[in-house]
Amino acid sequence: MTETHSRTVHVVDDDAAFRRSLVFLLESVGWSARAHASAEEFLEQCHAAHGDMACLVLDIRMPMMSGLELQQRLRAEGCAVPVVFITGHGDVELAVQAMKHGASDFLEKPFKDQALIDAVVAAVRKGDAARADVARREEALAVLERLSPREREVARLVALGWPNKLVARELDISEKTVHVHRQHVMEKTELGSAAELARLMLRADPHALDG
C-alpha cells in the first residue's frame, strides 16, 4: 500500500472527527484526501477540481443537503465522479435508492477500514473505466462529425456491409455517386475497411447500426 495516487478522494461528512479520521485512513494507504463539512461546501470546489477527483465518500444523512441530493446534483451537472455512500444503521432504503442512481457502493457504519479502502479502489476503477468510455465515444463522435449528412447515410449502409449497387438503389442515387461518397468517407475517417467503419460508428453510438 505504498503506491501513491495522483488524484484526490473527497470526503463529505457532517461529523468533523469522523471525516478527519477517514482522511487520515485514506492517507495511510497512499491516497490524497480532502474533507468537506457539507454538500454545499463540496459543490463549490467540485467544478474546480473535476479532473483531479478520484472518488467521493459521502455521508447519506446530513442536516442541510443530504447525500442523495448531492448525488443528484452532480449527475445533473455532468460531474461524473464515482460515489461511495456511508449509511447509518437502518438506512438501507436510502442506500438502495443511492445504488439505483448509480452509486458505486455503500458501507453501513460501523465498517471495517479495509472495506472502505476496497470500496474506494473499486469506485476509482469504475470511474476510470467510465471515463475512458466517454473519451472514446467523444473521439469517435468527433471523427464522424467531419462527414456531411449524405456521407453519413452512405457510411452507415457501407458499415452494414451493403454493396454499392444496393446502397445506390436504397438512397435513389447513381452507383457512381455512391462510389465517390464512399471514397470521401474513407479518406475523412482515415479508415481502410467497412469493418473498421462499423466499429467506429458503434463506439460513437452503440445503437448506430440498429434497424
Binding site: 505504498t2 457532517d14 469522523f18 478527519r20 479520521s21 437502518g90
Partner: protein, 592 residues
C-alpha cells in the same frame, strides 16, 4: 312376595261380619250349652257330617249338655276363642300350638283315627303326576310351580316346609310359581293334573283315600315310616287334639274327656286317646319361626329386609341421595373455597409484587422512554466508535508500511482519546437516566426542570433542533412534582417533536416549549412544526404499543400519560391554532 297376604278389604269385611255375628248371636245365657269349634278343611256341612259319629256319641254320653258344633276356619276359631265363645276346640296340631301359646288352649285328648298311632298320624305328601319321571327327589323341585291349599295349612304345607328347609331349600325363593288353590284340598290334585302346577302339597293319606286321583298321581320321595299306612314325604306328627280354653271349667273338661275316652270306635274307626306329646309340633314351628315362634323370625335383619324391602330400598335410596348431595355440596364448597383462597393468594402475591417492584416499575418506564430514544443513541455512539476504529487502523497501516510519523501518531492518539471521551459521555448520560431511583415528590422550579430536560435533549443529538422557551412563569415559582418523571415526559415530547420535523429541513424544525400557569394548573406545552397527525392516529395516541415509527415501541406517550395522571394531571394533544404542527400539553396541579 308370595300372593297370600290378606287384603285389607277382606280383613275389614271380616271384622264387620264378626261384629254382626256377636250382635246376633245369643249370649251364653244357658250354661248347659257347650260350644265346640271344629276346624273346617272341607265345607261347613261336610265337616259337620264328618264329625257326625263323634257328635252323636258325645251327645249320647252327656245328655245334660247341649253340644253346639261350629265349623270354623283358623281365624274364625281364634277370634271366637279369644272372645270366650268356645268351650272346646278340635283343630290341627299346628293351629292348636298357636292357640295354646296365644289363648292358653290345653289339650285334653288326641284323636285316634285308627290306622296310625295318634302321636304319629299326620304327614305331608308331595304329589306329582304318575306320568312324570322327574322329579324323583325333593331337590329337583327347585324352579318348579307348586300347588297348595294355603301357606297356613299344617299338613298341607308346613310339615313339608320343614323338610325343604332341612334340604337347604328356601320355598320363598326356590319355586317358579305358587298356585294357592284353597280348600277343599282336592283342588291341589286338580291343579297338578291340569298342568297349572308341576307338583302339589297335600296332607298325607288324602291321596290314598281317593282312588280316582291315586291312579294318576304318585307321592314323591315317600319316607319309610313303619306302622303308617300311607305314603308321606314329611316326618309324622301327632293327630288332632281336643283342647279346652282358659275359661272352660275343669269340671266340664273332665266330663267331656271321660265321655269321649269311654266312647267306642266309630264305624270309621275313630276314637280318642290320651293327649299326645305335641313337642314335635313346637320344634317344627320353632324351626320354621312361625306361630308362637314368629318372634324368632322378626329380629333378623335379613327377614326384615325381605319383608320391607321396598321401604328399605327407598330408605337406602334416600340415604344414598342424601350422601351424594352432601358430598357434592361439600365438594363444591371445598372447590369454591380453594378457588377463593387461590384468588386471594394470587391477589396478595400481585399486590406484594407490585409494592416490592414499584421502583422497578419506575425503572422500567424510564427504560422504555430510553428505548424510544435508543435509535438516536445508537447512532450517536456509532460516530465516536467508527472514528476511533478508523484512527487505530490507520496507525497500524502506517506502522506496517514504515511511514508512521510522530505527528501522525500524536494526531491519531489525540483524536482517539477525544472520541473515547465523547462515547463515555454519551454512555454516562444514558446510565444516569436509566439508573434506578426511588420516586420522590418535591417542590421544584418548573423552569429549571424543563430547562434541564431541554439541555439533556439537545446534548443527546448531534444536530439538535432549535428549542425556544416561552416562559410566562413568575420568578421563584415552585410546584410539587417528581422532577425526573416530568423530565421524562418533556424529553419524550421533545423527541416526538423532533421526529415530526427532522425530515423537513432545519428552517421548519424548530420546537417551542411553553410554560404557563393559570387557575392553579401548571402547563408545559411542546409545539412542533411537523405535518400534524392523522385523525385516526390522534384518537389512539395514548394507547400503548401504538407507534408511527419503524423503530418505536409505542410506549412513550402511554407512559407519559401515566406519569401525568400520577401527578393528578393530564396530557393532551391538539393541532396548533397558528399554522402546522401539533401541541402536546402536560398539565399538573400547582398548589401555589
Amino acid at each position: 312376595m308370595p300372593a297370600f297376604r290378606r287384603s285389607p278389604l277382606a280383613a275389614v269385611l271380616f271384622c264387620v261380619l264378626l261384629a254382626a255375628g256377636a250382635w246376633l248371636a245369643p249370649a251364653r245365657a244357658d250354661d248347659a250349652v257347650v260350644r265346640i269349634g271344629v276346624l273346617a278343611f272341607l265345607s261347613g256341612d261336610d265337616t259337620l257330617q264328618a264329625w257326625k259319629p263323634v257328635r252323636e256319641q258325645l251327645q249320647r254320653g252327656l245328655p245334660a249338655y247341649r253340644f253346639e258344633w261350629l265349623p270354623l276356619d283358623h281365624e274364625g276359631m281364634r277370634s271366637r276363642a279369644a272372645r270366650g265363645e268356645l268351650d272346646f276346640v278340635i283343630t290341627n296340631p299346628g293351629h292348636y300350638v298357636d292357640l295354646e301359646a296365644e289363648l292358653g288352649a290345653s289339650r285334653v285328648l288326641t284323636l285316634d283315627s285308627g290306622e296310625a298311632r295318634p302321636e304319629r298320624a299326620i304327614g305331608s305328601a308331595v304329589v306329582v303326576p304318575r306320568t312324570a319321571e322327574v322329579p324323583a327327589r325333593l331337590e329337583e323341585l327347585r324352579g318348579k310351580r307348586v300347588a297348595l291349599v294355603s301357606r297356613d295349612a299344617f299338613g298341607g304345607y308346613q310339615l313339608l316346609w320343614r323338610e325343604l328347609l332341612a334340604l337347604g331349600i328356601d320355598p320363598d325363593h326356590a319355586f317358579a310359581a305358587w298356585e294357592v288353590v284353597g280348600f277343599p284340598m282336592t283342588r291341589v290334585f286338580d291343579a297338578v293334573l291340569d298342568g297349572q302346577a308341576d307338583f302339589g302339597i297335600v296332607r298325607a293319606c288324602l291321596l290314598e283315600s281317593m282312588p280316582q286321583y291315586a291312579e294318576r298321581l304318585r307321592v314323591l320321595a315317600p319316607r319309610d315310616e313303619p306302622g303308617f299306612p300311607c305314603a308321606t314325604t314329611s316326618r309324622l306328627y301327632p293327630d288332632w287334639p281336643l283342647a279346652t280354653l282358659r275359661h272352660t271349667s275343669p269340671e266340664l273338661a273332665r266330663e267331656v274327656a271321660v265321655a269321649l275316652l269311654s266312647m267306642p270306635r266309630t264305624a270309621q274307626g275313630v276314637s280318642w286317646a290320651v293327649p299326645a306329646d305335641y313337642q314335635s309340633v313346637h320344634e317344627l314351628f320353632r324351626e320354621l319361626q312361625i306361630g308362637p315362634y314368629a318372634y324368632l323370625r322378626a329380629p333378623t335383619l335379613m327377614a326384615l329386609a325381605e319383608r320391607y324391602w321396598q321401604w328399605v330400598a327407598a330408605l337406602v335410596m334416600g340415604i344414598v341421595v342424601w350422601v351424594i348431595y352432601t358430598v357434592r355440596v361439600e365438594h363444591r364448597v371445598h372447590v369454591r373455597t380453594q378457588e377463593l383462597r387461590a384468588a386471594l393468594e394470587e391477589r396478595q402475591a400481585i399486590e406484594a409484587r407490585m409494592r416490592a417492584n414499584q421502583e422497578q416499575v419506575d425503572h422500567l418506564t424510564r427504560l422504555s422512554v430510553l428505548g424510544e430514544l435508543s435509535g438516536t443513541l445508537a447512532h450517536e455512539l456509532n460516530q465516536p466508535l467508527a472514528t476511533i476504529g478508523n484512527y487505530a487502523q490507520s496507525v497500524l497501516r502506517r506502522a506496517d508500511a514504515g511511514r508512521l510519523s510522530e505527528a501522525a501518531s500524536r494526531e491519531a492518539a489525540g483524536e482517539i482519546a477525544e472520541q473515547a471521551e465523547r462515547a463515555a459521555a454519551i454512555l454516562a448520560r444514558i446510565r444516569a437516566f436509566a439508573k434506578k431511583r426511588v420516586g420522590q415528590r418535591e417542590r421544584r422550579d418548573p423552569r429549571a426542570v424543563v430547562s434541564e430536560a431541554v439541555a439533556l435533549f439537545r446534548g443527546m443529538l448531534a444536530q439538535a433542533p432549535e428549542v425556544t422557551l416561552d416562559d410566562r412563569l413568575a420568578p421563584g415559582m415552585a410546584v410539587e412534582m417528581d422532577a425526573l418523571q416530568i423530565q421524562q415526559v418533556v424529553l419524550n415530547l421533545l423527541k416526538n417533536a423532533y421526529d415530526a420535523c427532522r425530515d423537513l429541513g432545519p428552517e421548519r424544525c424548530s420546537i417551542r416549549v411553553g410554560l404557563s400557569i393559570s387557575a392553579g394548573v401548571l402547563r408545559i406545552a411542546v409545539r412542533d412544526q411537523g405535518p400534524g397527525l392523522d385523525p385516526v392516529i390522534r384518537a389512539r395516541l395514548f394507547e400503548p404499543f401504538l407507534s408511527t415509527k419503524a423503530d418505536g415501541l409505542g410506549l412513550g406517550l402511554s407512559i407519559c400519560k401515566t406519569i401525568a395522571e400520577a401527578h393528578g394531571g393530564r396530557l393532551e394533544a391538539r393541532e396548533a391554532a397558528d399554522g402546522p404542527g401539533m401541541v402536546f400539553t402536560l398539565s399538573i396541579p400547582a398548589h401555589d
